[in-house]
Amino acid sequence: MKGLAVAALVLATAPLYADYTPFYLGLLTEVLVFGLFALAYDVLLGHTGVLSLGHSAFVGVAAYTTGILLARYRAPVELSVLAGAVGGLVTALILGVFVLRKRGVYLAMLTLALSQVFYYVVLMWTPVTGGTDGLGNLPILYLSQPLGLRLSKRPITRYYVIAAVIFLAMLAIRHLLRSPLGRVMRAVKANETRAAACGYDTRRVRLVAFAISGLFSGLAGALLTLVLEFVPIENIHWQMSGTVLIMTLFGGTGTLLGPFVGAGVFIWMRDFLSKHLEYWEVFVGSAFVLIVLFFPEGIVGTLARLAARRRAVPESDAEARPVEPEQLVAPGGGGNGAGATLLESRGLTKSFGGLTAVNRVDFQVRTGELRSVIGPNGAGKTTFFNLLTGVLPPSGGRILFKGADITGLPAHAVSRLGIARSYQVTNIFGDLSVFENVRIAAQSRVTHYRFWGNADHLAAVNARAEEILRHLGLWAKRHLRGAELSHGEQRYLEIGIALATDPDFLLLDEPTAGMSPDETQRTATFVRRLAGHVTIVVVEHDMDVVMGISDRITVLNYGEVLAEGTPAEIRENADVRRVYLKD
């Protein structure tokens, strides 16, 4: 709140320092508009982890929509600005549908290439857009509508009207980033695979982020038309995407203030440097490369880190130690091995090229059972898990859960049905706090896309996260980043994330991997006690653990079921002894 008050104060008094001269006021307004554009851009880059180089299309389509409505149809200013913002939104959705099948740098390349389509349309459609000459003669100053009138009077009024709009937009984005949806976006940025395993449809989340970014970029583009009273074709050229990228990285991604600071620095460079240096882009380009290499957090991010260095890390000697699993799972899942079939695979097969990793596996688990899956390295255990949880589509066969066919469902849909998993290689949200790791998983049972309200005020979700962290002995470390935990603690957090989604069926992939003998023993006890409440399948290499905790054991070898039975039966099985002892 304090930051907002300061921002409001700065916006309100800025004209004082600019001496009310129209030139500086115009510049100031431009900085604000580009700041909004950069902030909208950062919704994708800094808050969802998507690098786009196609934002010239969003801002350009919006600028032209507003311009054309004003110039050709003499539409009211309010309506034209609104239409511009919607234009940005629609463009983002169109682009999103094409590029979101891909990710990472490949996606960045696609956005750049596709954004050029809009440039060519503007170029070709000269009668309407003015082609290379841009779109001029905007009658903003002659409009009699309320906003038009206010805009027309003096540069100072225009500044305040536009500053007010931008302040409101900033408030909206700030609110959005703190909402449950904003948190999901951050989780997708931190670890997309894990977010999907928590039940979030990550592709759709990224599309929503694209749309939000497009909407506010569109608003910036519409306002830019008002500020310039002209639509230059550069607005829709791909270099515009580069400009906004540079502004955002200069200021610092992931902050509210950074994009505005970056816009200010860039426009300062453009206007003042270019007076003295003909080739000012050399300077901007060099500064950009240096920032990426040495100050990836940007100006605001770097300053914030320096300021935060004094803040002490919360000390705690409480060791992570799972306790009282009875209270961790919703009642009603249990009954020792007596229930009906919960999960079943029939003829499940997965081939990678010539290699068949999982070969016609028939597998049944009853409600309340604790089943271990063992087998030599490369037997297909993890692939089998990936098939059950929708990470990989099977090449053949079917998977039934609670009697319904779930074959081929994507990971997030499988998670929503009540199947959770932990990973062999620790897979947590390393950049999020320990608390947020579990909270975001628990939130998936309540809301995915709610863009209003503060995510921290979801009482039931907070309570659930606290409960799980306390029982895992991680409560004292809830403020640390996930990546800062020790290996053993990360393994517990991993299980905590899985439990937070309230599963009926839990798959644990080598929960004791890399643990000390002491930790292994505790984890084994924990898993055994958990089994009274939730159906568990565990992949494990430690034979003492397997024999100690399992109701039944399935042995995989070369992707096929070699044997299945109680621990005693498996111990006596000749085939199993041959595979394990090679005799």
Binding site: L51, L53, F98, V99, R101, K102, R103, G104, V105, Y106, A108, M109, L110, L112, A113, L114, Q116, V117, Y120, V121, L123, M124, R203, W238, G242, L245, I246, L249, E278, Y279, E281, V282, V284, G285, S286, F288, V289, V292, L293, P296
Partner: protein
């Protein structure tokens, strides 16, 4: 002939992406620098044939310098692939202005070498110029040589192995750092070579890198990123489409290739010859 040039530039882009996972936005710069290096050589010595040799070598060295001096700093950092895009993008802004500073804003004229001027023969209604046949022949010779380099030599083996599992190759005790430098320089040299042979057809200008880069993106999307055959097929398809639609109706040429890209993205996201799973979900 458009297609030949695109193939050569797109190949470098594709090989670098396959090995290093970086979309090299500075790739168009090497094409432009190649054209300038060629112009300078012709300007100083008067020999086009020398330019064909000097430009790829000089720009290859520049490429190696960029890899060693800039890209090397970001390997292994968090989000290294993003950072790779960002710094090369920064270079793509920076270097054209440096070239403008050195050579001036207007483009440089570049004459077709004397031995190749004039038309060779008539093909129907169109005259076939010697220089265009030359481009075709050079590409036809260069491509098999490159294919042999990538598929039959030790270096090629390391590059292809590194593409599928970089860590494993490192564990085998192979100097991966050097392979990356060589690969990046090779891509740069290829682009530079394409730049020199295009120069007589277009004006040599600082802006020429940007346009060819975007066309190469389209080529690699259509053909399949990281695939040799893909780059060749995509280059031919896009290049000839550009030429044909350009002849029929000029303004449509640019739009048609984007439509082709959009179609491929929807129907076959990995591209015509792309490997399954490459940069897909």
């Amino acid at each position: 002939m458009n297609g030949c040039i695109l193939i050569l530039v797109a190949l470098g882009l594709s090989i670098v992406f396959g090995l290093m996972g970086i979309i090299n936005f500075a790739h168009g710069i090497f094409y432009m620098l190649g054209a300038y290096a060629g112009w300078l050589t012709v300007h100083l010595t008067g020999s086009f044939w020398l330019a064909l040799l000097v430009a790829p070598l000089a720009v290859g060295v520049v490429g190696a310098g960029v890899e060693r001096g800039v890209l090397k700093r970001i390997y292994g950092t968090a989000n290294a692939n993003f950072a790779g895009v960002l710094v090369t993008y920064g270079l793509a802004i920076l270097i054209p202005d440096l070239v403008r500073m050195t050579f001036g804003r207007p483009g440089k004229p570049f004459a077709v070498p004397k031995a190749l001027t004039g038309s060779l023969f008539q093909l129907g209604a169109t005259e076939v110029h010697g220089y265009r046949v030359f481009i075709l022949l050079v590409t036809a010779l260069l491509l098999p040589a490159l294919w042999l380099l990538l598929n039959k030599t030790n270096l090629g083996l390391v590059i292809r192995a590194g593409t599928s599992d970089n860590l494993m190759v490192q564990l085998l005790g192979i100097n991966v750092a050097r392979t990356w430098t060589i690969t990046y320089a090779l891509g740069a040299a290829l682009a530079a070579f394409a730049g020199v042979i295009t120069a007589p057809l277009v004006a040599v200008a600082p802006e020429m890198g940007g346009l060819v880069l975007i066309e190469c993106f389209i080529v690699t999307v259509v053909g399949g990123m990281g695939s040799f055959v893909g780059a060749v097929a995509g280059g031919l398809l896009i290049g000839e489409t550009l030429a044909l639609t350009g002849m029929l109706y000029d303004v449509f040429a640019d739009v048609v290739i984007y439509l082709m890209m959009a179609f491929v993205l929807l129907v076959r996201p990995r591209g015509l010859f792309g490997q399954e799973g490459m940069s897909e979900e």
